[in-house]
Every structure is written in structure tokens, then in C-alpha cells.
Amino acid sequence: MKPPPFDYHAARSVSEALELLGRYAEDARLLAGGQSLVPMLNFRLATPRVLIDLNRVGELAYIREENGWLRLGAMTRQRAIEFSPLVKERIPLLVEALGYVGHLPTRTRGTIGGSVAHADPSAECPALVCALGGELVIRGAGGERVVGAADFFQDFFTTALQPGELLVEVRLPVMPARSGWAFEEFARRHGDFAIVEVAAQVTLDERGGCRAARVAAAGVGATPLRLRAVEQIVERGGGAGAVVAQAAARAAELVDPAGDHHASADYRRHLTEVLTRRALSRAFAGVERSK
């Protein structure tokens, strides 16, 4: 389990990273927290000729609030986000989800951008970006572009990022007032990639109706899946038990999971229903409590 030879460059700035990326294009891989890439190198599953290390690019580590969005620099450590009072106040769902990402030592190293760009179909960060309708800021030689979550995640470990491009920022909308949230995950062990996970955030209007719902599931397909039809059921019918149950049943119909040696397809589909129901119930109950 030793990687084949590669050249290593430690970029000091985004422009240097982009310059290196431009030079090596498809031969290069970007190293963020390394929690997935380094094992892949050792297993010789990834065999880049050049490794561009972003860990010294200080300008990519930040948490800012702007115009109703939280802007997270791609190299912000998961642990920093988990412990940010600002994130806790503005997007508590993100903090809850991060509790399921690996273990404390891996979160200390792992970054939000690395996880999103790696796009593991069972990972928590991509699911959350998907649920909240986040935006991904991408920079390349030709300048900057912003891609919505729905277009960003394309397939297993495949995103809208093109060779020569760098994910620089993850933007997530701040949770509105009168909202509740829940992140439900089922994994065989604490810290494992999920068998199934469901993220939910609901916002009520003044009369107590559901103004907006955000639901996504992961572990059930090639990419995390925003469950718009599920959202619509509770947006129309609210958070009553029967409505939530109906929404959850719909979730199971929307996903098309594959089975593997950890869990069968049927079990994953069943879990999608159970976890959607639990997540929505808890999210609605949370709003009630916060009133």
C-alpha cells in the first residue's frame, strides 16, 4: 500500500494552484484534507502524476455571512465549521450533519470543499448542500462560475468540475426564521459512510402552515438526491403525522438504490421512508419548540 511516484507541489495561493492546474491539467489531483485521496493513492486507485496540495492556501479557509448566505471557503476544516457559533446559529442543520462525518481526527483534517468535490454518494456534506440548494463557486483559467447543487453532482464521484478548475467556495442559504431541522442517518457504525441519510429543514409561515421544506437523501443512488416531490407534500399539507407519513412513503418511491454487502436495495428504500419520516417529524417538532 504505497503510492506510485508523483510530483508534489504545495500551492500558496489560489492563483498559484490555478497556474499549476493549468500546467498539469488532467495529470493533476488536488489534495485538500486528504481523508479520501491519500488512501486512494496508497491503494493505487488514484494514480495522478502530480499532486497539488491546497493545505497552505490560507485564503480558502473562512466562514462569512453575506446577503442571507453563509460562504464557506473550500479549505475550511469540517471541525472549524462544526464549532463555529455563526454556523450554529445560521445553519444548525449543517452542524448536526457534520457530527456524522467520520471521527473527530478526520474532521480536524477534512474540509468542506474536499468532501463536496470528492462527491461520495453516501457522504454527508454533499447531501446537505443538495438539501439546502447550495451553490458551488468554481474558479478556472477563464474566471469564476457558480453552479447550483442540482447541477453540480452528476454521478458517482463525478461533479461539474472540469480539469483545470478548482472549487473555491460552498454557499448555503441561511435558515429562515420559524424553521426546524433534522439530520437522520443510519450507518452500521458511528462515523461510517451512511447506508441512508436524510436531511430536512422546514420553515413555517405565520399561520403555522409549511412555507418551505428542504429534503434530500443520500446513500440511495449515484448522487445525493433532493426530494422535491416530498417537499411539496408537506408544503401543501403541513407537518401533521399523516402528511409526514405520506411524504415519507413518497420518498421511498423516488429513490432507486442499489444493494451491496452492507445493505440490500429493499432495505435502503425502506430506510429512506423511515428516516424521511423521522427527519420531517423532528424538524416540525423543532419549530414548535422554538416558537
Binding site: 500500500m1 504505497k2 503510492p3 506510485p4 511516484p5 488512501p39 491503494f43 493505487r44 471521527h103 443510519f186 452500521r188 457504525r189 458511528h190 462515523g191 461510517d192 459512510f193 447506508i195 454487502h261 452492507h262 445493505a263 440490500s264 429493499d266 432495505y267 425502506h270 430506510l271 423511515v274
Partner: protein
């Protein structure tokens, strides 16, 4: 039930117990902090990978990607041209320079240290590259061209016995490595006369231990002397030393095994390192360089060792009052592509305790040991007892269910009673001591069993799936090597040229140095068990000194230490046999010191005793300290009495007298001490996700005299967590083509601290009459009972649905499917 304890043996045991001298026990029994820990915790342990070697090259191993394939050609030309590559070893070298390892069965199986004709499992070594560093060696692996002819594979042990199944070893003619059908008592009659008969089938998974330190071997060959020196984390049994020497065509006294001070865990798995010792030894001998190989985690998961997966069928005959009359069993142990010694221990290692904790006298075992295209197997914590107790304890619960009795009560009615020890089991085991009803009662009490039953009633009324499991197990330790030969028919063992096998011994030496301090030299290979700590405790008590005054050396070297065929640190043997040897060595030295002091002081030896670091008059008068005696004996040999051998050292070899070869009826005392475990577990199953939550877990052990309770507690925690792995998480899974599906810790799931459960531990102590200190082994511990108690608890929780656990690990997906099937089957 008649008392079957044999009176001659009972008195023999009594004598052994009386032989104990009455040393004051100040340190034995204390939870002393481990003297090993400061350096281990500070990262200053010395493991095989840490040792400095000069001019050592690194090896990487090319492994078969196929489960079953003929190797038609190997072209290493490109690899050999790469800068930094020293050489390549292939099956042709193994054929030319080595011999197949001896196997414990009659089937003509040629097991070499690497594939020579065919690869028979994914991960089997096909070539070795030796290079200046491991990176270069792995790069070179990619350049070796192997022409394989893939063959059909078989992975299921029952399917492998079908006539049309892919055949692994043409010379054997089938995939059956060994088959024994053994009957004790009158099973037919017991089943005929039974009020109830229970039948069930079981599947036990293939899993290992994944010690934190993988295998490591450093080999160098000195052609001038013909000595191959191998430094490795070898743990024994040392019978594997002659087996390896023979495979390498070396005289045994030209093969030197050195074991560094620290081994990072093993749990039996490192028993199976010896083929790699031969492989890396072969590379060193062929290429004339020192060769180092440190196994990586992927190699470890693919091709080190694991317990067997087993398919088993059991039948139980009982009276309607719950008395068990007989058990019948037929099972198929899957040993993988070859049978590697000490297999078929999977089938026979627990033979003496096949009846578990129960009195029934009629027993039938139909054991098939089968080869398939999976990785090879060997001892894994509890060696085959996890399988055994999963099956037996489920059967007892099924009996309770059928009779509508409390499972605890059914066990109580069948336990061997405390006045029956030493107890001879129908299969030849000699249980040394115990009080099973008392230990079991203590477990029920610690668990608040009656309260749990009330909770269960309440939970069931609410529609919740709450269950209680109990389990009882005899904990065998210090294997008697003779058990392996049950693999041979009694007629084979009766041939005049056959040499019987038996034994369980350990050696220790002690020295009083010229400045009056003690050094104990062990022949053991600890993997974290704390031998230095406990031997210091024992010797401190023998001499009345502090453990700090005793240095314990446990770095094994076959050229300089005293050892025997059964030596090594396995089968929980140190706590009884190793400590016995250390105590006996200390007593031998004490005897000499008393004789010397008697001469110097002109006092009869009977009037002297060793107390507080001195030989003193028992009347409390004069004495000579160890330092004073050492000062005289070492610095002035003239002071020794005429006829007394100079030097203040002693060596003792402790050997169990009851470790005998199997008799003509296949009865054998397969272990030498037999502890006891009683457990209670309460669980709740999530009816929707099938997640299992362990609410309470109690384990009570009888390990005889406990030497260090802190170490014992650590063993129980580790054992329980290991058992939890087999019950819920760990499985070396293969697909139908024999591809291994668990090449990393992302897929092979080991319980971590987050999965650990709270454990309530209790003890009772019935001293073993056969060991010097009355201690028994405890290292396998709850690893062998957690699968049983958890399966019982989950089955009980799911009783409203009628789901019974017969297969491990109980993954949530598997369990949910069982629950769904049961729910759908209901009106």
C-alpha cells in the same frame, strides 16, 4: 446423572494443589499498573518494524487476483530491469528450494509458502519482489506479467463437496481435507427415549482479529554458517518452528527465530505467520540479502488468517423436565484453499468441552473440514469456541422455548454441579474446577434478571421488541497439542509407526544477580498480555520483595531460551502454565538459597523460610538478605557448601500431567484448565430499522486465582468487543467467484470505541488444582460468548415475530429481511 469424576485423577489434582508452598500473597491479586504501559503509551515500544537492521532490502508480494487459476507463466523480466530491484522469487524457486509444509491430515495436500501450480484463493502469494525500498518493490510488482488460466471457483463448504464442484487439489480427488464421525455414549437410545427433539441449522461467519500490528518478518541468511535468522512477530506454538525448518530444508538448529520485545496484538492470528517466515526466508536465501517484509492492511485482510466459516446442523434430545440427554451435530468448517496447521483445530480444538457446561453424556459429532477458494484459516480468539457456544447456547434456548421454560432454569437443570470436579466429560475433557450454578446465579443477580423480565413484559405490551439473552460457557485454555491428532482415525493412530502427540508446557529461568536483584527470563511471546507485570508480581511474592526488584525479559530467541514444542503465547496459556513455570523456577532458586543459608548460618533448612527479601529463621531470629547471599555466593564461591553447584539460577519447565494423547475412542483432554463464563444481555430492536441496542450486558468469569484484576478486566473488555465484532459487524465476505469483498476497513467493519458497550463484570474463583497458583486462562474470554448471548437476546426480542437468529453477523439489513419475512408470513 451419575458422578463421572474419576477418583484417581481427583486425588492427583489434590496433590498438585497441596504442593503449593505458602508464600504470602501481597502482590498476586492486586490490580498493579502494567509495567509495560509507560513505554507503550509513550510510543517507545519495540516492534519488529522498528528494529534497526543494516543493509536490509524490502519485499513486496504479488498476489493472485483470481480465486482459482492455473499459473501458466510468469515473466519478471521488466521488473528485474527496474533500478533498485534486487531480485524476484516465484513458485519455481519454492519448488526448487523448499518443501510443502506438513499438514495435520492424511489427504495429500501440497501446501507451499507460495503458489507453485495454481492459485487457490485471492491474495495467495505468486511472486515476491525484493528491492531497495518498499515503494520500488511495489512499483515493480506492476511490471510482472503472470499468465493465468482462470478456473471455476467454489466458496461454500457444502457446495464444495458436491461431485461437480470445482476441484482445488487434484491429488486429493475432492475438496474434503478431513472427516471424522465420532460418537460418545448411546446417542441413538437417548434420541429414542427423548420427550422432545429440537433441530436447528447455523451459519457462523469467517472473521479474524485484525491486530493493530500486522505481520512482520526480517530474514537474513549467513551462508558461512548456514543459519537463517528470522526476526518476526511469531507467537508460537513452537511446533511451527520445526515445521518451518523442514519446509526450508534446514536443520532445526540452523533456523533461529527471534521475537522483539513487543508484539502489537495477535489473538491467535499471528500463529499463521509461519508460511511468510518461509517465504521471506526463501527470498533471503535465494537473493543473499537481508529481506524485510511488513504486511500491509490490505494484505492482512486478504491473506493472513481468520477463523473458519461454518455451516452446522444440530439436534438436541431432552426430557420434558428440561434435562438434556444428547446432542447430535454435523458441521462443515471452511479452511480455504489449503489446510494450514494447526488446522483442522477448527473442528477438534474444543473437543474436551464439546458438552459445554452441561452434564449430558451422549454426543455425536460429524465433522467435515472442507477446502474452498477462500483465504486460509487458523486460530482466532477462542479458537472454534465462538462457533461451539453459538450453536449449543442457541439449542438450549430453543429447548426452553419449546418447553415454555425460563432459559435460565433449563441451564440450571443441566449444569455440572460443584461437587463433580474434577469432571471428566464424555469426550475426554477434564474440567479442573468450577461452580457453574454459583457463577450463573451471580450473573443473573448482577443483571437484575427478574427486573429485566418485568421490563420485557411491559415493553412487549407496548409493542416494543425487548429481549433478554443468557449464555453459559466453559472457557478452555492451555491447549493440549494432542487434540489435533483426533483428525486422524483411531486406526491410523494405532499404526506402530505412528508417534502419539500430547503436551502443554512452558519454561522459565530466574537469576539472582551479584548485587542481589532478580531477573526472570521467559520463553513466552506476549502480544500485549502484560507478562512482565504479572511475573514480577508472582516472583515478588515468592521472595517477599517489590515487583520493582524483578526484571522480566520476554524477548524470545530459539537459540538461547528454553522452550518446547508447545511453547508460545496462545490458547490463554500464560496465566496458568507460564505463571506456573515462573513460580516453580522461583521456588527452585529459593530452595537453593535456603540450603546455602542453612550452611552459612548452621541452622537446619526446615527452620528457615524466605520472607521480606531474606532467608530468615522461622522463629523470627537471624537471617541473610538476598543481597548478602548473592554477595557471598557470587563473589566468593569458596563459601558454597561442598557439592553445591555454583551460580544462583534456576530453570523450571512446567508441564501439565493431564495433557495426554487421544485414546482409542477419541477421548482427549484437549485443554488443561477450564474456566467458566456466565452472561446476561438485554437488547431492544428498532422495529423499523432493525438496529440493535444493547441495554445491559453482564459477564461473570471464573478464572481461578486472579493474578492481576486490572489485566483481567482488560482481557474481558477486549474479548467482549471482539465477540461483538463477530456477532454484529465482522465478516470476510466473498462473492460467488471467490472475490474478496472486504479489502479495507471501510468494508471489513471492526467495532470501535464508539460501538463499545458498558460491561458489568463479576468474578467467582474456584482455584485450579492443576496449576501452581490455582490460576486459569482468561484471554479468550467473552469473545466466545457474546455471539451466543447476543443471538439469544435478539431472538428473544423478536419472539413476538417468531424470528430466530441462526446466522451471524446480525447485520441490520439481514435482520430487517428476517423481520419482514416474518411479518409478511403473518395473517
Amino acid at each position: 446423572m451419575s458422578d463421572t469424576a474419576d477418583s484417581e485423577i481427583a486425588s492427583g489434582g489434590g496433590r498438585a494443589a497441596q504442593a503449593a508452598t505458602g508464600a504470602t500473597r501481597k502482590w498476586v491479586g492486586q490490580p498493579l499498573r502494567r509495567s509495560e504501559d509507560p513505554r507503550l503509551l509513550a510510543g517507545r515500544g519495540t516492534f519488529v518494524a522498528d528494529l534497526p537492521f543494516h543493509n536490509v532490502c524490502q519485499a513486496a508480494i504479488l498476489r493472485s487476483p483470481y480465486a482459482h487459476a492455473r499459473i501458466k507463466a510468469i515473466d519478471a523480466g521488466e521488473a528485474l530491469k527496474m533500478p533498485g530491484v534486487v531480485g524476484v522469487v516465484t513458485g519455481a524457486d519454492a519448488l526448487a528450494m523448499t518443501r510443502p509444509f506438513g499438514v495435520g491430515v492424511r489427504a495429500p495436500i501440497k501446501y507451499y509458502c507460495m503458489a507453485t501450480d495454481k492459485a487457490r484463493f485471492v491474495g495467495e502469494p505468486v511472486a515476491v519482489v525484493v528491492a531497495q525500498d518498499r515503494y520500488l518493490a511495489e512499483d515493480a510488482l506492476d511490471r510482472i506479467q503472470v499468465e493465468y488460466e482462470p478456473l471455476p471457483a467454489v466458496v461454500d463448504p457444502e457446495a464444495a463437496l458436491a461431485p461437480e464442484a470445482a476441484l482445488l487439489h487434484e491429488a486429493v480427488g475432492s475438496n474434503l481435507a478431513c472427516h471424522r464421525h465420532i460418537v460418545y455414549g448411546d446417542v441413538e437410545r437417548a434420541f429414542r427415549e427423548a420427550d422432545v427433539v429440537i433441530s436447528e441449522s447455523f451459519r457462523f461467519p469467517k472473521y479474524g482479529s485484525t491486530p493493530i500490528e500486522t505481520y512482520g518478518v526480517v530474514a537474513s541468511f549467513e551462508s558461512a554458517t548456514g543459519v537463517l535468522t528470522v526476526t518476526s512477530n511469531f507467537m508460537g506454538p513452537f511446533i511451527l518452528h520445526p515445521i518451518t525448518a523442514r519446509a526450508l530444508n534446514l536443520p532445526e538448529n540452523r533456523l533461529r527465530f527471534i521475537v522483539p520485545p513487543d508484539i502489537g496484538g495477535s489473538f491467535g492470528i499471528k500463529t499463521s505467520i509461519y508460511p511468510y517466515i518461509a517465504l521471506i526466508g526463501l527470498a533471503a536465501m535465494k537473493l543473499k540479502v537481508a529481506v524485510k517484509w511488513i504486511e500491509d492492511r490490505r494484505e492482512h485482510l486478504l491473506a493472513s488468517s481468520s477463523g473458519t466459516d461454518r455451516v452446522a446442523y444440530r439436534e438436541l434430545a431432552a426430557r420434558k423436565d428440561g434435562t438434556i440427554l444428547a446432542m447430535r451435530s454435523r458441521w462443515y468448517d471452511n479452511v480455504g484453499g489449503y489446510i494450514r496447521s494447526p488446522e483442522p483445530g477448527c473442528a477438534f480444538r474444543p473437543i474436551g468441552n464439546w458438552v459445554g457446561a452441561y452434564r449430558f453424556q451422549n454426543l455425536e459429532a460429524d465433522a467435515y473440514v472442507v477446502m474452498t477458494n477462500k483465504s486460509l484459516t487458523g486460530p482466532n480468539r477462542g479458537y472454534a469456541c465462538g462457533h461451539l457456544y453459538f450453536e449449543i447456547e442457541r439449542m438450549v434456548d430453543l429447548l426452553a422455548e419449546k418447553l415454555e421454560m425460563d432459559p435460565a432454569e433449563v441451564r440450571r437443570r443441566n449444569f455440572i454441579q460443584s461437587d463433580q470436579f474434577p469432571y471428566r466429560t464424555p469426550s475426554g475433557g477434564l474440567y479442573d474446577s468450577g461452580d457453574y450454578p454459583a457463577a450463573f446465579a451471580k450473573a443473573l443477580e448482577l443483571a437484575h434478571y427478574d427486573e429485566l423480565k418485568r421490563e420485557r413484559e411491559k415493553a412487549r405490551a407496548e409493542g416494543r421488541l425487548f429481549g433478554i439473552g443468557v449464555a453459559a460457557a466453559v472457557d478452555p485454555s492451555v491447549s493440549n497439542m494432542g487434540y489435533v491428532t483426533v483428525a486422524l482415525d483411531p486406526q491410523d493412530r494405532a499404526r506402530p509407526q505412528y508417534l502419539p502427540k500430547s503436551g502443554a508446557l512452558e519454561a522459565a529461568s530466574i537469576r539472582l544477580d551479584p548485587l542481589g536483584k532478580l531477573t526472570v527470563i521467559l520463553g513466552s511471546t506476549p502480544q500485549g498480555q502484560g507478562h512482565q507485570t504479572i511475573v514480577a508480581q508472582i516472583v515478588a511474592d515468592e521472595f517477599g520483595v517489590s515487583p520493582d526488584d524483578v526484571t522480566v525479559v520476554d524477548e524470545m530467541d530459539t537459540f538461547t531460551r528454553v522452550w518446547g514444542i508447545s511453547s508460545g503465547t496462545y490458547s490463554s496459556r500464560f496465566g496458568s502454565v507460564g505463571t506456573s513455570a515462573a513460580a516453580l523456577a522461583a521456588r527452585k532458586l529459593k530452595e537453593k538459597l535456603v540450603a546455602y543459608a542453612s550452611y552459612l548460618m548452621e541452622v537446619p533448612p526446615e527452620a528457615l523460610g524466605v520472607v521480606d527479601g531474606a532467608v530468615r529463621e522461622k522463629s523470627g531470629g537471624r537471617g541473610l538478605t538476598l543481597k548478602e547471599l548473592a554477595g557471598r555466593a557470587h563473589w566468593n564461591t569458596e563459601s558454597l557448601p561442598r557439592g553445591m553447584e555454583a551460580g544462583l539460577e534456576a530453570t523450571a519447565v512446567f508441564s501439565f500431567p493431564e495433557a495426554k494423547a487421544p485414546d482409542h475412542q477419541d477421548r482427549v483432554n484437549s485443554s488443561n484448565t477450564y474456566g467458566f463464563i456466565a452472561e446476561v444481555m438485554a437488547v431492544e430492536v428498532d422495529p423499523e430499522t432493525a438496529a440493535i441496542k444493547i441495554l445491559r450486558y453482564v459477564t461473570v468469569h471464573d478464572a481461578g486465582q486472579i493474578i492481576n484484576p486490572a489485566i483481567v478486566e482488560g482481557q474481558i473488555y477486549g474479548g467482549a468487543l471482539h465477540g461483538l465484532g463477530g456477532a454484529l459487524y465482522e465478516e470476510m465476505l466473498y462473492d460467488e467467484q471467490g472475490q474478496c469483498l472486504v479489502g479495507s476497513f471501510m468494508d471489513y467493519l471492526v467495532p470501535t470505541a464508539s460501538e463499545a458497550v458498558k460491561i458489568d463484570i463479576g468474578h467467582i474463583a474456584t482455584s485450579s488444582p492443576f496449576t501452581t497458583l490455582g490460576a486459569k486462562g482468561l484471554g479468550e474470554s467473552s469473545s466466545m460468548t457474546v455471539p451466543a448471548v447476543l443471538a439469544n437476546a435478539v431472538s428473544d426480542a423478536l419472539r413476538p415475530l417468531g424470528v430466530r437468529i441462526r446466522e451471524l453477523p446480525i447485520t441490520p439489513s439481514r435482520l430487517w429481511h428476517l423481520m419482514e419475512t416474518a411479518r409478511r408470513g403473518r395473517p
